[in-house]
Each structure stands twice: as structure tokens, then as C-alpha cells.
């Protein structure tokens, strides 16, 4: 969180974490495409084919004045690939909440678990941990025929009983709900 007392702005950082190809970028793309352009910026998307790869996506939301203050939310996605570990750590810096986008396909469960363990490791580097940090789970790709049952996903990933949403990020199902929950958690933490 950053407070700009002079412009009367309060800025929050929310990081979308999760295994590569789980749907993090798709969440931001859906938000960008479906939010009123008055309250969102451009989607700064750094895909790997770009000549200067910077390894993250960024989208800002800027609401109108509330009680004379302007709330802003900065949404980031992290790169899933293992060799960008240090980038992930730095993108996580200053985060106020995390959305963990899990992939519902059975073949992706190991990677969900590895990435969650990686998140815990990175939080500890920042002197936090999963049980005292605001985060929400998103079970994505619920549309796929072979997706695991919610009970299975819950028992494997949600050992801390955090809020969760089922999602189909490609068509937007659960995308706004997930972000709304993340914001609720971070606001209540203040």
C-alpha cells in the first residue's frame, strides 16, 4: 500500500500468483476487456516473444473520489516458470493481497502445490506466511471435462480455509468475484 497524501490517493497492490498457464493473464485480460474504461488503465502485457521481456502483466484500476480520496489498485501477474523465481520474489514485494490461480486439471495438481509452496517460501522472505497474509484461491478452468472435483481441490490446496472461487477465466466466470474478495480481505486487514 502506498498513500500519496498530496494527491490524496491510496494505492494497493494485488498479485496474481499460480502455476504457468493456469490463467493469471486471462484474468487480467477479462478485467481489462469488461471494466468501464473510465476506471481502468491499459493492460501492460509482457509476453515472452517481446524483445524486452519484463516478465509480468500489469493493470491499474482507478476509482473516482471516495470521501475526497482516490483509491487505486495495481494488479500484477507473476511469471510461472521456475527460472523467474527472483522476479516473482520482487513482484511480490509490497503486495497487499494475493490471488492464487490454481489449475483444475489433474495433471496440473503437482504444479499447483509446488507453486503454492513457492509462494509460502517467498512470503517468509518478506516476513509473512500464508496463514497471516490475505490471499484468496481461484479454482480456474472449471469448464474442462476432466477438472478435479472441488472437494479434491479444497482438500489439497485449501488447508488454511481461505476464501475461494470457482472460475472459468476465459469467459469471465468468477473473475470479478475473486478480485472483489481479494480487495475485501486487504481492506479488512488495514
Amino acid at each position: 500500500m502506498h498513500i500519496d497524501y498530496f494527491r490524496k490517493e491510496i494505492q494497493f497492490k494485488i498479485v496474481y500468483y499460480g502455476p504457468g498457464l493456469g490463467g493469471k493473464t486471462t484474468n487480467l485480460e477479462y478485467l481489462h476487456a469488461n471494466l468501464n474504461p473510465d476506471i481502468r488503465g491499459e493492460l501492460v502485457s509482457l509476453k515472452t516473444k517481446d524483445e524486452r521481456t519484463l516478465y509480468f502483466d500489469f493493470l491499474q484500476l482507478k476509482l473516482g473520489k471516495i470521501k475526497n480520496k482516490i483509491p487505486r489498485f495495481h494488479l500484477y501477474t507473476i511469471p510461472g516458470q521456475i527460472h523467474y523465481s527472483y522476479s516473482r520474489q520482487i513482484i511480490l514485494r509490497g503486495a497487499d493481497a494475493v490471488v492464487f490461480v490454481a489449475d483444475s486439471q489433474p495433471v496440473r495438481m503437482d504444479e499447483n502445490l509446488e507453486t503454492l509452496a513457492d509462494l509460502e517460501k517467498k512470503l517468509i522472505l518478506h516476513k509473512y506466511s500464508l496463514d497471516n497474509f490475505p490471499w484468496v484461491l481461484q479454482y480456474n478452468k472449471r469448464d474442462l471435462a476432466d477438472s478435479m472435483s472441488i472437494e479434491t481441490m479444497q482438500s489439497k490446496l485449501n488447508f488454511l480455509n481461505v476464501p475461494y472461487h470457482q472460475a472459468v477465466a476465459v469467459n469471465g466466470k468468477g473473475v470479478f468475484e475473486t478480485l472483489r474478495t481479494a480487495i475485501e480481505l486487504l481492506i479488512n486487514k488495514i
Partner: protein, 172 residues
């Protein structure tokens, strides 16, 4: 909220007082004017712009700063790969008509200078370096204060914010 340990101390964190803020703005304006720069930005490594002075209207400072902080993270990784003990001191991007020069102020802060092709790079380096020293001096003198967040964000603000979000998100 995640912060690096040297950013917080016993629950205190760096808060820029109004006086400090104007001191920083003045330093940034001076650099901007001497270089005829398009923009000078003082930002933190989390990607937030803290103070800036602009001549341009067509650049989104929030996005530029997020990318600048991201660039530092990427190049820090490169520094590590080539076994550099420290991060690269500055990053420079040359464009068709505009250039960007970015430089560490401290572990937590950076400065971004956006300037025209016509300005000599040597000047930019010298004057930016000089500005960095001034900013470092200010940072050294900062006292840590408790952040007055709860006062900034009261219960009513939180509930109004929730309502706004539900409206824009099409929820409830």
C-alpha cells in the same frame, strides 16, 4: 502488507512528510529543468511513483513506474546470473526520439528520467548522479513514523469503496 525489513522498523515505516515531499519535488524540478527533461520521477521499488515533475501529458506515469521497477527486477536477475555482487547502477533505454535513464537511489528507491534525444547522455548521467546524492541525503535524514492508515481509511471509506466496486464489477 509486504515490506522489506529495512523499510519497516518496529511497525514504523517511512512516511514522507509534506516538507520532505516538497524538497523532493524541488530537486526533481531542478533536474527536469536543467536537462529539459520530459519527466523526472522518484519511485519506490514496489512500483509506486512517490513524487514526480512532468512536462508531458501523454505518458502514463503509473504504468511507466511499474515497468521501471519491473525492469530493475529483471536486470537484478541478470546481475546475479553474471555473478555481479551488486545490482546494475543504472539502466538506459534509447529510443527514436525519447530516452529513459533509470538509476538506483537506494535499495528501496529509484529515479526515472525521461528525456529528448537532443540532450547529451553525459549531462544526464552527471546531473542525475548529482540528484541521486541529494535524494540519498534526504532519505538518510528521514525519520520513521507510524503510518496513519486507519485515519486515512476509516470504516465509512471502506464501506463506500465496497459499494463502488460492486457497482463497477456488476456484483450484488
Amino acid at each position: 502488507m509486504l515490506r522489506n525489513s529495512n523499510d519497516t522498523l518496529n511497525g514504523k515505516r517511512i512516511v514522507f512528510s509534506e516538507a520532505t515531499y516538497y524538497k523532493i519535488i524541488k530537486i526533481l524540478a531542478e533536474l527536469k529543468n536543467r536537462l529539459q527533461a520530459q519527466a523526472t520521477i522518484f519511485a519506490d521499488m514496489n512500483g509506486y511513483p512517490i513524487a514526480y515533475d512532468l512536462k508531458v501529458e501523454d505518458v502514463d506515469i503509473i504504468e511507466l513506474t511499474a515497468l521501471a521497477a519491473g525492469t530493475f527486477s529483471a536486470t537484478s536477475e541478470m546481475a546475479k546470473l553474471i555473478k555481479e555482487k551488486n545490482r546494475f547502477r543504472f539502466i538506459y533505454h534509447e529510443g527514436e526520439s525519447r530516452n529513459i535513464y533509470m538509476c538506483h537511489v537506494s535499495k528501496e528507491y529509484l529515479i526515472i528520467v525521461l528525456f529528448d534525444k537532443s540532450v547529451a547522455m553525459g549531462m544526464v548521467r552527471i546531473l542525475t548522479h548529482n540528484t541521486v546524492e541529494k535524494l540519498q541525503k534526504i532519505l538518510d535524514e528521514l525519520s520513521l513514523e507510524y503510518e496513519k492508515t486507519s485515519q486515512f481509511l476509516d470504516v465509512e471509506f471502506k464501506s463506500l469503496l465496497g459499494k463502488e466496486l460492486d457497482k463497477y464489477f456488476g456484483l450484488k
